[in-house]
């Protein structure tokens, strides 16, 4: 764990304003290198480990420092450095982690929660370790703790044996959750996997593509509603640089991860008391005024900081 914290500290000293912790199962992280920790961790083991209603195929190790411990240390390195993480598995969101995310202003309120399918029958064949109900319960629980959270998911359409009813379960789930981002693909069978050994890739390609089209259309119509709902709100944006489409505009990510575009304007820098243009690495408050497709467009109002913005009392 120390090597990771040291790396983050070094990045902070170099002027990095945002780190994304990476791993295939980033929140299954476990550091068992320090034996001293094993005793205390074993006591609180069960509560610390999995989200409610979820299970794993491998034996979960009770001892060792967990992801929540790492996230705690990493986010404490620099309170003005944003911390994100990907890709997590839905099973690894115990309450302790959610509470930490809620309480730490520099941990971004963005959770990638890949569901893959909305049908419990398909989820069972996929061996994901949760049912539709457990997943929806987790979404509800996360939203109760972090109401402003931005959720995203992955979807595999046309997995072995998927019926039209299964597909509709997925569509219903997408409608009820309201994701801010979705990564949707048609199933592609891979050698060596359990599905290759046990099942048939029996959903015809044209059916996969039809279902994918339906999912994509549904998702984007829901996303448009959500983007529209942010119009009129003020967001804390970490400036990245000129927007891709126009040199006179700047862009950067809001806390939830959405890219915001705003016109490049002079703002008063309170630290130096001079007016200047926002630069990459600055935090600015942007009021969203409209949207172009799924991109919110706004006006920058002032320089700010994570601390200052969090004290305003509202995060969106």
């Amino acid at each position: 764990m120390e090597s990771i914290v040291d790396e983050v500290r070094r990045l902070s000293e170099e002027g990095i304003k945002e780190v994304t912790l990476l791993g295939q199962n980033v929140n299954s992280y476990s550091d068992e290198s320090d034996i001293v920790h094993q005793g205390e961790e074993q006591k609180r083991a069960e509560d610390r480990l999995l989200s409610r209603g979820f299970k794993t195929v491998y034996k979960t190790r009770a001892h060792g420092l967990k992801f929540v411990d790492l996230l705690d240390k990493v986010s404490a390195v620099d309170p003005e450095m944003r911390v994100r993480f990907t890709s997590p598995h839905p099973k690894d969101f115990p309450d302790e982690l959610l509470v930490l995310m809620k309480e730490r202003p520099n941990i971004c309120k963005q959770i990638h929660l890949p569901v893959q399918s909305g049908s419990s029958a398909v989820l069972e064949r996929m061996r994901r370790g949760y049912t539709r109900e457990a997943y929806l319960g987790l979404v509800k629980h996360i939203r109760s703790l972090i109401p402003q959270v931005s959720l995203s998911s992955d979807f595999i359409v046309g997995f072995c044996g998927e019926t039209e009813a299964d597909h509709h379960d997925t569509l219903n789930l997408v409608s009820s959750v309201g994701y801010d981002m979705a990564y949707m693909f048609a199933y592609s069978m891979r050698e060596k996997t359990l599905a290759h050994r046990r099942y048939q890739d029996d959903v015809p390609e044209e059916v996969k593509q039809k279902r994918l089209r339906e999912l994509i259309d549904l998702f984007y119509s829901i996303q448009a509603t959500r983007v529209q709902a942010d119009v009129g709100t003020e967001q804390l944006v970490l400036v990245e640089g000129p927007s891709r489409k126009s040199e006179s505009d700047l862009s950067g990510k809001a806390d939830g991860g959405r890219n915001i575009v705003f016109r490049r304007e002079l703002l008063l820098d309170p630290k130096s008391n001079i007016t200047r243009f926002p630069l990459p690495g600055d935090y600015v408050i942007v009021r969203i005024e409209s949207c172009k497709g799924s991109t919110p467009i706004g006006r920058c109002l002032a320089f700010s900081s994570i601390k200052e913005f969090s004290l305003r009392g509202s995060c969106s």
Binding site: S3, I4, E7, V8, R10, L11, G15, I16, K17, E18, V19, T20, L21, L22, G23, Q24, N25, V26, S28, Y29, T56, V57, Y58, L70, V74, T86, S87, H89, Q116, R125, M126, R127, R128, G129, I156, F159, F185, Y187, S188, M189, R190, E191, K192, T193, L194, A195, R198, Y199, L238, E240, P280, G281
Partner: protein, 245 residues
């Protein structure tokens, strides 16, 4: 029925794969992953004569770093292209750090200038791999057009999944290197002028590259990735990742 561009390579018998090289590597692959002490490049060069498992037998010219501080003119240029997930982008930064540290290679942003072209690949879906086959085909044309011998290396999950088959299907591929073997990359890359093909697809339970500070792809960006764990044991029915990382 659509035949992808790489299908023409299906029956290729191959040029220049040294069978002793491949045999040694495949034999090593049978060892369980993890725990192998990885030597530095300097160790390899010091003991060049006595390595019993040396996978290339032709004598190397005196490498630049033994002659003192190398000028950039004598460094080999590498070009690296990344496909797939953020982990691959992070691994590209690790590879860049390993290559820079070897003091044999320097990065170029222009593929035409490169002595070495590396593809960091993805195997998650058939489409992801099709892109790579197409890219390899275009690299074959590039080599022909420029009339120079470029060392082509395939890294990442497709390398791990297909292993030696990659070289059989696309003769332009000289090096295959899986996600746990990047420390070995400088050794794999030197001395491929004589048509030696090299492969290292050993998987490791321990390799995390924790001691390697990734060289950042874009030093002007204010955001960075920090890899904290590797691999996946969940074994979801549809997913190849537990087999490649």
């Amino acid at each position: 029925m659509f035949f992808p561009v790489w299908s023409r390579f299906l029956f290729w018998r191959g040029k220049g794969i040294r069978s002793d090289c491949l045999k040694n590597v495949l034999g090593r692959r049978a060892l369980s992953g993890g725990g192998q002490h990885l030597k530095t490049l300097h160790d390899f060069m010091k003991n060049a004569g006595s390595l019993s498992e040396a996978s290339n037998t032709s004598p190397a010219p005196v490498p630049p770093y033994l002659l003192g501080e190398p000028s950039t003119a004598t460094l080999k240029k590498y070009f690296i292209e990344t496909y797939g997930c953020q982990m691959n982008y992070n691994d590209t930064e690790v590879v860049m750090s390993i290559l820079e540290r070897s003091r044999i290679f320097t990065r170029t942003a222009v593929a035409d200038d490169a002595d070495v072209i590396l593809l960091m690949t993805c195997a998650i879906r058939e489409n992801a791999e099709s892109k790579i086959w197409a890219r390899l085909e275009s690299l074959r044309s590039l080599e022909a057009r420029l009339k120079k011998n470029i060392t082509i290396g395939v890294l990442g999950c497709m390398a791990e999944r297909l292993k030696a088959l990659l070289m059989e299907k696309a003769r332009v591929v000289d090096i295959v290197c899986g996600p746990d073997a990047y420390r070995d990359l400088p050794r794999l890359l030197i001395d491929t002028d004589e048509g030696n093909k090299k492969i290292n697809v050993m998987l490791s339970a321990d390799e995390t590259y924790a001691d390697i500070a990734p060289v950042r792809l874009d030093p002007t960006k204010k955001s960075a990735f920090v890899s904290i764990m590797r691999g996946c044991n969940n074994m979801c029915a549809f997913c190849i990742v537990p087999f490649t990382r």
